[in-house]
Symmetry: C2
Subunit: 148 residues, 2 copies
């Protein structure tokens, strides 16, 4: 099962805030047209990002902005905000291994640490990448492809 597109959509939202935030009001409708999904999807996502302390959203008047400097928001922060994993675990373990079987008893103690180890490797990599990196790359890409 793939990780849901909420994650890439969230990054897209941040890139829009950075690119257009100075000149335009970043509403859910504006974002919806860049991302091409329903505005309500965006609002729900912005709600998750707000609850995680990553964005500020203006009620009534409208508009989203960063709640922190870009280099203090990592991809892991975003991932954890929008991808609420069951009890924080990336891997879904089968529920009822047979406790009367030696292997059934041992599978959890043996595997749990390994699964954490794998998940940690992924999280470490996500933590190393911040929005500052993404914004820099986006600026570079837009500059290269626009001065034609």
């Amino acid at each position: 099962m793939q990780i849901s597109s909420r994650f890439t959509i969230a990054v897209h939202i941040f890139s829009c805030i950075d690119t257009f935030g100075a000149s335009e009001k970043i509403t859910s409708d504006f974002l919806a047209s860049s991302i091409q999904v329903n505005p309500v999807i965006i609002r729900k996502l912005l709600g998750q990002l707000r609850d995680a302390g990553l964005v500020a959203v203006q009620r009534g008047t409208g508009g989203a902005s960063l709640a922190k400097p870009a280099d203090e928001i990592s991809l892991l922060d975003i991932f954890n905000a929008v991808e609420s994993l069951e009890s924080g675990k990336l891997f879904h373990f089968h529920e009822n291994p047979n406790p009367n079987c030696p292997v059934g008893r041992s599978i959890h103690p043996v595997l749990d640490g390994r699964l954490d180890q794998i998940q940690s490797a992924m999280e470490r990599e996500m933590q190393r990448i911040t929005l500052a990196d993404i914004f820099a790359d986006t600026k570079k890409y837009i500059a290269i492809t626009s001065h034609s």
Copy 2:
């Protein structure tokens, strides 16, 4: 979205083969009772593991066994065998970013590499762990908890 339990079930299957393979015939019914899931689930999984060249399954007479030495089967091999990701990608990207928006155009080129980088970190960790490691840990755990 969590990774499906097929992965942990598959590892459980291998542990049973290693622990009981010498003394018992490892049928889908036997495995089903240790894992406590339906035998048909096991047969489908064994089919995927067989197609990936990881196990050998006897038709008619029944029984599963390793198709390779344990230290030549990594958790990544198992993961790829049972968790068929859409086009091999861990992250589901939103389908239609707006090509008329600078950010919509750049989000793919900017993010794709980063996502691959994260997925690679996870895969590298999975590749480092082989069934030989799991089997050794299982033996250790069973030994410790059985001589009471």
